[in-house]
């Protein structure tokens, strides 16, 4: 420590074992007092060591409680060791796969299905169809969006002609439309290919009795009849064309 080492050992290969292979890095050019170079090192304390305190008792209790909780949770929500078992709820049906939706659960897991009023079942199905397909534009409240998606609440398009309602669902509508004094200019896609007769009838039934609307249900047979009647149509409807469609659907 009292002499300055050679700045560069001769012919030193980078990877050769040397006594001090890394003294090359020290920049001695600016300082002459070696102790000052190391001031920050000199004032350091010794490197940290580890004390021998034992693990506190309360901590062992905390650890035990956590482990216990973990075990209980694991047991209750394990489901089954099955790649198809998605439902973690305690007591969920596992055999034959779980059903994901609450609606499907009514028909799914074993036991006699409770006999439900068919109209109520249609309305419930209609609500699910509405939520999955229509609510993003017409909203869960049925009120739509100003200027774009017409409100369905107290709307003549919903309440009046059954034929017109199913026609809209089958082939869509576009262009300015006035509903209850407000103008909407949106584009409604055709749902005829995506919804079958039962689904179409159910969603029509649903919107005709929801949000204060009071109009009669529409049956799947009626939806099928209307589908047949308008089968040749390939374009979306405009307001004028829609207003020309009137009357109920008569099933022959």
């Amino acid at each position: 420590m009292s002499q300055e080492p050679d700045p560069k050992p001769e012919a030193a290969s980078e990877f050769e074992e040397q006594d001090n292979p890394s003294l090359r890095g020290i920049d001695y050019s600016e300082e002459t007092n070696v102790t000052q170079i190391h001031e920050s090192i000199l004032r350091e304390k010794i490197d940290p060591e580890e004390g021998q305190e034992p693990i506190p008792l309360f901590l062992i209790a905390v650890i035990g409680a956590t482990l216990l909780f973990g075990g209980v949770y694991l047991g209750r929500h394990w489901g089954a060791f099955d790649g198809m078992a998605y439902d973690e709820r305690a007591g969920a049906v596992v055999a034959g796969g779980n059903v994901g939706g609450a609606g499907g659960g009514v028909a799914g897991a074993g036991g006699a299905a409770v006999e439900e009023d068919p109209l109520l079942a249609m309305v419930k199905l209609g609500k699910r169809v509405y939520t999955a397909n229509c609510a993003s534009c017409h909203q869960g409240s049925g009120q739509g969006a100003a200027g774009q998606y017409p409100t369905l609440v107290d709307s003549p398009y919903v309440l009046d002609s059954e034929r017109r309602l199913i026609a809209i669902l089958l082939h869509g509508a576009e262009g300015p439309m006035t509903v209850k004094g407000n103008v909407y200019n949106g584009a409604m896609p055709a749902w005829g290919r995506q919804l079958n007769d039962r689904q179409m009838a159910s969603v029509a039934t649903y919107i005709r009795q929801e949000w204060g609307n009071k109009a009669g249900p529409i049956t799947p047979e009626q939806a099928a009849a209307a589908r047949l009647e308008f089968a040749d149509r390939t374009k979306v409807y405009s307001e004028a064309e829609l207003l020309a469609i009137e009357g109920p659907i008569v099933v022959k």
Binding site: G83, Y86, D87, G100, G104
Partner: protein, 207 residues
């Protein structure tokens, strides 16, 4: 714990356990799923995406759509995803067997898109929304993807695929906005996003 071998064995053991549990076992347990084939109609689910839609998936990936949009519907006993109209059933592993890479997403700055093809099948809507999101969703913070569109001079007649834009989004007089090939592919992909089919392990609530 002063020997490298002791430490090494410890690192290896703890790591391998979780690696087995979270990587290897899942791969064997639900990582080799076959599509579900409807015996009557012969349709297989999930449906294959068209080449154009696959190209669109690449556009989706290149532009980071996953950072605002998820593609997974959670079950109705845990979340309001289905009540929001984002799906008629929860998503399951089989819905993603053709996705390389997966696009499950972790943020919902924007809505979930698993079934966007179901609830918004209109191509025109998607193009207008991509070009000027605020024109379709007031207050939206989605960035306008103008670079996926071209503004060109109208040659004679307006192009059939020109976007119908209003007010501040419309181009100058005599110009029209048309989608590039990337935008067309992206919209084809968005239209293909649908989990609207039942599987034995997850039935649609709308059936």
């Amino acid at each position: 714990m002063n020997k490298l071998t002791t430490l090494f064995c410890g690192f290896l053991f703890t790591f391998v356990l979780a690696w087995l549990g979270l990587v290897i076992i899942p791969h064997f347990q639900f990582g080799q799923l076959q599509p579900f084939v409807n015996e009557d109609t012969g349709e297989s689910f999930p449906p294959f995406r068209s080449g154009l839609a696959n190209r669109g998936k690449q556009v989706y990936e290149a532009n980071g759509c996953i950072y605002c949009h998820s593609q997974q519907v959670r079950p109705d006993y845990l979340s309001a995803d289905m009540a929001r109209g984002w799906g008629a059933r929860r998503s399951v592993a089989r819905d993603y067997i053709y996705d390389k890479p997966h696009l499950l997403g972790t943020m919902r700055t924007g809505p979930d898109l698993s079934n966007i093809g179901v609830r918004q099948p209109s191509e025109a809507w998607h193009h207008e929304h991509l070009y000027a999101p605020q024109s379709k969703s007031i207050g939206s913070t989605m960035p306008p993807f103008r670079y996926l569109y071209k503004i060109q001079k109208i040659q004679g007649e307006v192009s059939p695929n020109a976007l119908k834009l209003t007010a501040e989004d419309a181009p100058a007089e005599g110009y029209e906005v048309v989608p590039t090939a990337e935008a067309v592919a992206l919209v084809a992909y968005l239209k293909s996003l649908s989990q609207n089919y039942s599987l034995p392990e997850a039935k649609l609530s709308t059936e």
